[in-house]
Amino acid sequence: MITEERPAVPHGHVCWSYDDSAAFDDAARRYLSAGLAAGEQGWYVGPDPAEVARERLAGLPDLDGALRRGDLRIVPPWSAYPPDGLVDPVGQVRAYATATDAALAAGHTGLRVVADATGLAATPAQRDRFARYEHRVDRFMRARPFSAMCAYDRLRLGDPAVAELACLHPYTNAPGLLFRLSACGPGDDCAELAGELDPSNHELFAAALERAELRPVDGELRLCGPRLRYIDHRSLTHLARYATARGAVAVLRTSLPTASRLVELLALAGVRVEAA
């Protein structure tokens, strides 16, 4: 017997970059299916008319029953997001918080959303707002039973634009993306850096930091890097400047021996490396 191996779809906050809608549909079904099996309410948010969306979800176990019971909802984007397509990062998280509470009140264990957000990140201004929202909602997901797969059409947006959004997710299939900046706990007190930071993504890293709007706690801007594989001197220097501009010292927890060596070599006062 031959079985087709498909890449695993992670749970939590996932960025799905696609150029093949069939592959995206498959990933969306599996993502929602796992949530439904766990008793979560599922939302499918996309630009297609409801009947098209329903066809794309065909194959989900007991699709009709799930839709009928309200376990699964097909939601038009103008209902889940502002009709003008300009997302307010704070308001959008609040909206999903309300929806999560509603799902819990209805007896579900949480809320799980698949959203094709391509149309909400098409222009630089939209993308900037949506990226800021992405980090805020990432923190929210660490605190509340809410999860989301944010899908972006890379043929429409292009890989650099998708990378701006993908790097703010803890999980992504975006090709060539070397690093990720995500929340590492429910509070505002820490963020996680993962992957590799080098000159190829320095500008992307700077933009991600700006959009994450990390807030110092007790004069420290805390980042942990258990999955950080490489950080170069430019990124450390930028991190130091970013923290200094916020009246803080960046504290990076990592087991990378080179991070502390570089900080010492460059005498970077705005960043401190602690062994993980």
Binding site: L178, D198, P199, S200, Y230, H233, P257, T258, L266
Partner: protein, 335 residues
């Protein structure tokens, strides 16, 4: 106020001591140290254990001479410059009129890694010139190879002699000129074998992975990580400021990993590149300086293929005699 032979000198007073016996070494060293202490100047010895003991035994007890471990200080030229500059700056901040230092390189450093120590000896004429420093660099003429003594003459403005004279070196070359010369390193025998990895126009990330694949398990993790930093910076510079094709080659054996990065360009124009951080924040200068702090040897040179930086992690003091070829053959790539 400065004292002794450097009393009327501004900046760095750099001398070589080429001695042929312990007596000759002491004849120069002891008065140099004794007079420094008498003048209240910070007076420092950075010798290996044997010569440090010799000097200690020749000095009166409780002479206020500071002994530094030459081995640690002289691990890498760029690190030595950084450490010495910090030390000198501390003394100057205290308001001292002059600092005296006498040091020596270990015999191993006069071998196949001498090229970067020769660059060091030249570069410090500039790197220490903002300090009121009088230093002597000791070379044993009985053991130092003739080619080393030739470069000593070209990198030291003057000699101190056992009869108390301070003689200009007629072969001295200003560092901007000396460091701009093309300096071919001694070929590492590993380079005569097929590389474990060879990549054309790699990204920095691909280069890092290639080093991990070839070096993993052969060297302590910290040395591998330092090499990865150096290779990443070197490839980044080659891609940004060099000319394609950039060629990365990695060789590995039990005690070292050697990486060469070649591009078709001419290399950096700053003669102090690598030994000092770029003076004007110039292109790639910081990365090359970090590279020099991260490897056990760095050589850079130009040949028909373009500009090459060769990086070594692990033991850089390879044998140059006719070692059996099989011993030196690189293992096949592991990934």
């Amino acid at each position: 106020m400065r004292t002794g032979a450097a009393s009327d000198h501004q900046g760095y007073f750099h001398e070589a001591v080429c001695y042929g016996s312990d007596e000759e070494l002491l004849a120069i060293t002891v008065p140099f140290l004794r007079d420094g202490v008498a003048a209240g100047e910070p007076t420092i010895v950075a010798f290996g254990a044997e010569h440090a003991a010799l000097v200690r035994s020749a000095l009166p007890a409780a002479t206020a001479v500071e002994f530094l471990s030459g081995g640690d200080l002289y691990a890498r030229p760029a690190a030595a410059i950084r450490a010495y500059r910090a030390l000198l700056a501390t003394h100057v901040a205290r308001g001292v009129g002059q600092i005296r230092i006498i040091g020596e390189l270990s015999p191993a450093m006069l071998g196949v890694t001498w090229d970067w120590w020769a660059r060091y000896e030249s570069a410090i004429n500039h790197a220490y010139d903002e300090f009121p420093l009088w230093s002597m660099c000791a070379y044993d003429t009985r053991t130092a190879p003739p080619e080393v003594l030739t470069e000593v003459a070209r990198t030291h403005p003057r000699y101190a002699t056992a009869d108390g004279r301070h003689v200009p070196s007629e072969h001295y070359v200003e560092p901007e000129v000396y460091l701009a010369e093309n300096r071919l390193p001694v070929p590492d025998p590993l380079q005569l074998t097929p590389p474990a990895v060879e990549l054309a126009d790699p990204t920095a990330a691909e280069a890092r992975r290639a080093v991990y694949a070839a070096a993993g398990g052969r060297l302590p993790l910290e040395q591998v990580e330092d090499l990865v930093v150096a290779v990443s910076e070197t490839v980044t510079n080659a891609v940004r400021y060099g000319r394609p094709v950039v060629c990365l080659r990695v060789w590995a054996c039990d005690d070292r990993v050697v990486v060469s990065v070649t591009d078709r360009g001419a290399g950096p124009t700053d003669p102090f590149a690598g030994l000092l951080p770029a003076r004007d924040g110039g292109p790639g200068g910081l990365g090359l300086w970090i590279t020099h702090q991260s490897c056990s040897h760095v050589a850079h040179y130009r040949d028909v293929d373009g500009f090459t930086i060769r990086l070594t992690a692990g033991d850089p003091h390879f044998r140059t005699d006719a070692a059996p070829r099989a011993e030196l053959t690189a293992s096949p790539a592991t990934g």
